[in-house]
Structures are given as C-alpha cells and as structure tokens.
Amino acid sequence: MSIEPSETPPKVLLLRSILWGSVFVAIAGVAIFSALEMYLGNGSKTVRYSGEADIRSEFSLTDHTGQEMTQADYADRWQLVFFGFTHCPDICPTTLAYMSGVLDLLGDDADQVAPIFITVDPERDTVPVMAEYVSVFHPSLIGLTGTEAQVAEAARNFRTWYERTENDSAPDGYFMAHGGYIYLMQPSGEFEAVYQEGGQPPEVLAQEIRKKL
C-alpha cells in the first residue's frame, strides 16, 4: 500500500505555527473590527464572535430548485451541512445516506433541521444535477451550488477546505478533495458542533440533535 506513516517534519511545524499565528491575527482583527464598527455607531446588528470556533453559516448560493438562498432563508431551523460533490464515489454518498438516516430517526423533529449539501464542484454540479442528486437521498435534502466564488466564500465561512486534483484517469480530468465533516449550525448560523459519518451511529447523532432542538 502506498500510505506512508505520517511524521511531522520541521517544515510542517513551522507552517503550523504560521497558521496558528494567522488564526490569532484573524481573530484579533475581527475583534478590533467589530469593536470599531460598534464604536462608530454601525453596530445596530448584533454580531457575536466566539473566537473559539469562528465557523459560521454565511453564504449566498442557489438551491436545487433554482432559488437564490442565503443562510437567512434557513433561520427558522437548525442546519446540518455537508460539503462534497456529485462525482465523489465514496465519502459523499455515504455521508449523505448517513444524514438521511439521521433525519428519518428524527421523525417529526426533522422539520426543525435543514439538511444542506453544498457542492465544492459547481462547474459540474449545476442546479439540475444537484436536483437529481439530492432527490435520491432524502426528500428534504437541500442541494446548494453557485459560482466558484460563491462556493469558495461559503467554504471559507465554514472554515472548510477543498482542492481540485488533476488526474488523467478521472472523469473530466480532475477529482475534488474536501473536508468530510458534517456541521451542525444553530438557526442563527452560529456554530454548534461538528461530526463525521464514521464517528457515531446515526441513532446517537439523532439523539444528540434532538436534545439541542
């Protein structure tokens, strides 16, 4: 097998310190900015940053029915969000099937949760593609796509990551690599918790979500 045991070379350590450094600078920047904004009388909207997990649901995308949507359109519900793409053979269908299982287990309480699948491959995952794809998993699953810039912005706000990998044998010559996390977001769009499909059986996640509703 071609999997090498992972070690941590000094370069990575350096990179890590730089990354943490920038996280700190970013948080400090946001704090100063919001303080300034409030001081200058622009703070009529209450913005709260936790700093601890600056993951927030903030996006402007198009849903699988062709409607322009932002996080505000789901403000009456909690959000269960997963980033993936429809050419993904393993993790994406597995995770979406898992999320669907969780929704079924929630029964009537599922009305209080918006299950959202955001593509990281908007070039191929157009509105009709998303519509056909999400309908296979769950009737309430929402597929979101947009321009490359809109998707990049959504991913940035969720602090998630994706990357295009060129591969000659792949369909259209590329694969997308992406973080495989499921985000549970509060109706306000603020971060609540993060899960992975393999982390717990669907019953456990359903129970955990039900307690929070």
């Binding site: 999997i3 990575v12 053979p89 993790i91 269908p93 056909e132 044998s169 792949a170 495989g180």
Partner: protein, 144 residues
C-alpha cells in the same frame, strides 16, 4: 462477521489452489447519475500472504483500489493503492468511508438489484471471478 461467499469464486489455475482467498460482504452502490465513478466494497481473506494487484469488470474502463488518508489537519484525500496487501488469515475490509474499489469509465449506470461482475487478480497468480449485488444509492453496508 457474516461470511456470505458471494457468487462464484473460480480458481483459474488449479496449481495455485493452495492460495485460497475468500471474498465476503461484497456490494456496490447504485449509480445516482450517469458517467459518475462508482464504488464497490468487499472483504478479502487470504489463507496465505498475498496481494490484490488487479481488478477488472466488463462494464468499467478501469478499476482502482482507493484508500482514504486523513492528514493531521483533518483533510481526507483518496490515495490510489497499487497492490493491496493481504496478510495470511487476516480479513482486509473495504467499506464506506475507508478503502473502496473505484470504477471509472462505466459503460452503463449501476442499477440497483443487478449484479456487478468483478475479476480479481492476485500476486500469487490466483484469479477469481465474483459478482457482487448492486444495492441502493443510500446503502451504507452489505446486504443483511
């Protein structure tokens, strides 16, 4: 673990009959949309040290073995495995979210309820033909 030896396991070379590989819990996920890569899963148990080196199927241009490698920062990437090590007597499981067979260049969609034929070649020279059931797009494990 449920051992359902799925369909026919044919040894083409009786000379190597001593190298015995059992294949169980095999399944593939139905295609949701056309011209998408598909995934198939199974458990391999070899009674001696061996390697799975090639997989073919008449309905896909190529089949590769993929593992998921998660880096320290939590990013998962698929990595292609050229030869899958099979330790003696120890089951090696390909399951959702972990290792899988990836089928590319499908000539047709994988339809739920059909069977996917696979020919597997091992380093020992053993060649096996199995066919695994195609389960629904929302399936997450082998059939009960």
């Amino acid at each position: 673990m449920k051992i359902t030896t799925l369909a026919t396991a044919l040894t083409f070379w009786p000379f190597f009959a001593s190298a015995d590989v059992t294949i169980s819990d095999g399944w593939a996920r139905a295609s949701i949309l056309a011209s998408r890569p598909a995934a198939a899963y199974l458990t391999l148990t070899s009674d001696q040290v061996d390697q799975l080196v090639a997989i073919t199927t008449p309905i896909a241009g190529n089949v590769t073995i993929h593992a998921v490698e998660t880096s320290d920062d939590g990013v998962s990437r698929m990595v292609e495995v050229d030869a899958l090590d099979l330790p003696a007597g120890e089951p090696v499981t390909l399951a959702p979210g972990g290792m899988h067979l990836m089928l590319m260049g499908l000539s047709e969609k994988l339809e739920e309820g059909t069977e996917l034929p696979l020919t597997m070649t091992f380093a020992s020279g053993v060649r096996m033909e199995v066919s695994v059931p195609v389960l629904g797009p929302g399936a997450v494990g082998p059939q009960e």
